[in-house]
Symmetry: C2
Subunit: 237 residues, 2 copies
DNA sequence: ACTTTATAAGATGTTAGACAACTAGGCGGG
DNA sequence: CCCGCCTAGTTGTCTAACATCTTATAAAGT
């Protein structure tokens, strides 16, 4: 973890924790002195948080907190752990395992994972909020990535820990395509809701830092339980 | 436009234009020399593009292009002009004006725009791809923002130019909530499609650089015509 | 001949200090 | 009372150097 990342993390924590209640950050030289790094490092961290949207800088004036962006609940750009997300939304979280199998992927999933006809691990889970099914998720992991024996239960919970522990792979980022769909008969069995209602459908591919695909996922969310927000920036095209 | 922003824009243009076909950028000192700025400025620009996802840096090794992210079509994190978006997707674009009125906003829209019972301009448009309705969009602009007389036709097209020309306001970013919905009877009239099919529904608020809300929009997209993608990074929390 | 260990070159990460450009508030002249 | 100048404070940029890491090459050892 680089020094800039540490500063970013610490500043974010302080901002979310309610320091700088005046809505303004100390000057860059002051921050540099306080945190024991150079002003350059502070500046890079501030630039990152500015792109993230939680603060903005005015030349000659100062660095200020964007309270509105800070108060957003679930930001689409940073949603990761289902259980954490459910609990953040104010519910008790639970997982029900549905299926685990070893299959040969179809064309779409195979190409997303850069596979030919190599096998993939398919694991399906339902996540519950206050005992109501709200997320149905199917993960596909290339079998060749698995480097040590594992217990089936390890695939019931967060897949990221499985990838780290059993595949020695760390997820760096996801590429997600977002679509609206209506619940069909198959999905209604998992989510236990009537057919025809709209749900979020995410097609997601996870990568490590070297751009190698690690996992493909199909995810379905009940929209009544989550609100996904995105900060969209005006790029200078 | 700051010097860093200029470099970001130029580098992005070069990358998308296919320079650096080897998949690797020149070293930071070389770039600094070529573009006539200091290495610090180059580094801030590279950091920004790295957060954007189109390149990544390896300590001690170099700066590389992320071809996969580069090839994404429509990124949700960026604000798009509807016409441009339709044409980028390979269709001919057209606009059909639906309605223009001056109303007192309801509670939800009023609070989104920081208004009491002040009036808003309501303009509704349908955007067509190859003569098929694919986007239905309703914009709400606070009437007090309008600073000069305008022709009704100016509200038929891109609202951003209207905001700049008649309100002297520049949109800096949007805050968008994304939901799946099904087409009801009212929406089916505008989008000319059968009821019950799923569509994207975006609730969007536009802001200027000073965090003042400029516009609220309700937007509906036919998902068959657009694919919205998000790059989600693993932040070190 | 092969493996292992040093070495060096080149890249990104960080530091330090200085100056430039801009903002906002205070002060004085009109 | 208003207007413009001035100044202190803040962010933006530049320069030069050192730190840390990666990679390839060469040397040393087996």
């Amino acid at each position: 973890m680089s020094r800039v990342e540490k500063i970013v993390s610490e500043l974010r924590h302080q901002i979310e924790g309610g320091d700088f209640a005046e809505g303004r950050l100390p000057s860059e030289p002051a921050l540099a002195r306080q945190m024991g790094v150079s002003r350059n490092t502070i500046r890079q961290a501030l630039a990152e948080l500015e792109l993230e949207g939680i603060l903005f800088r005015k030349h000659g004036s100062g660095t200020f907190i964007n309270q509105r962006v800070l108060n957003i609940g679930t930001r689409l750009e940073e949603v990761w752990d289902f259980v954490e997300m459910i609990e953040t939304s104010g519910f008790s979280a639970d997982v029900r395992h549905v299926e685990l199998s070893l299959i040969v992927p179809g064309e779409a999933i195979g190409s997303a994972l850069n596979l030919g006809d190599e096998e993939v691990l398919r694991t399906a889970n339902v996540f519950l909020a206050d005992n109501v099914p709200v997320i149905y998720c199917v993960d596909y992991i290339p079998a060749k990535l698995v480097r040590s024996a594992y217990d089936e239960e390890e695939l019931y919970g967060p897949v990221y820990t499985f990838l780290e522990k059993r595949c020695h792979q760390k997820v760096n980022h996801n590429l997600t395509e977002i679509m609206p769909v209506v619940v069909d008969s198959a999905l209604s069995r998992y989510l236990q809701c009537e057919q025809g209602i709209p749900v979020h459908y995410f097609k997601e591919t996870a990568f490590n830092a070297d751009e190698q695909p690690l996992m493909y996922s199909d995810e379905y969310y009940r929209p009544e339980y989550f609100s996904f927000n995105v900060l969209r920036k005006m790029t200078g095209r």
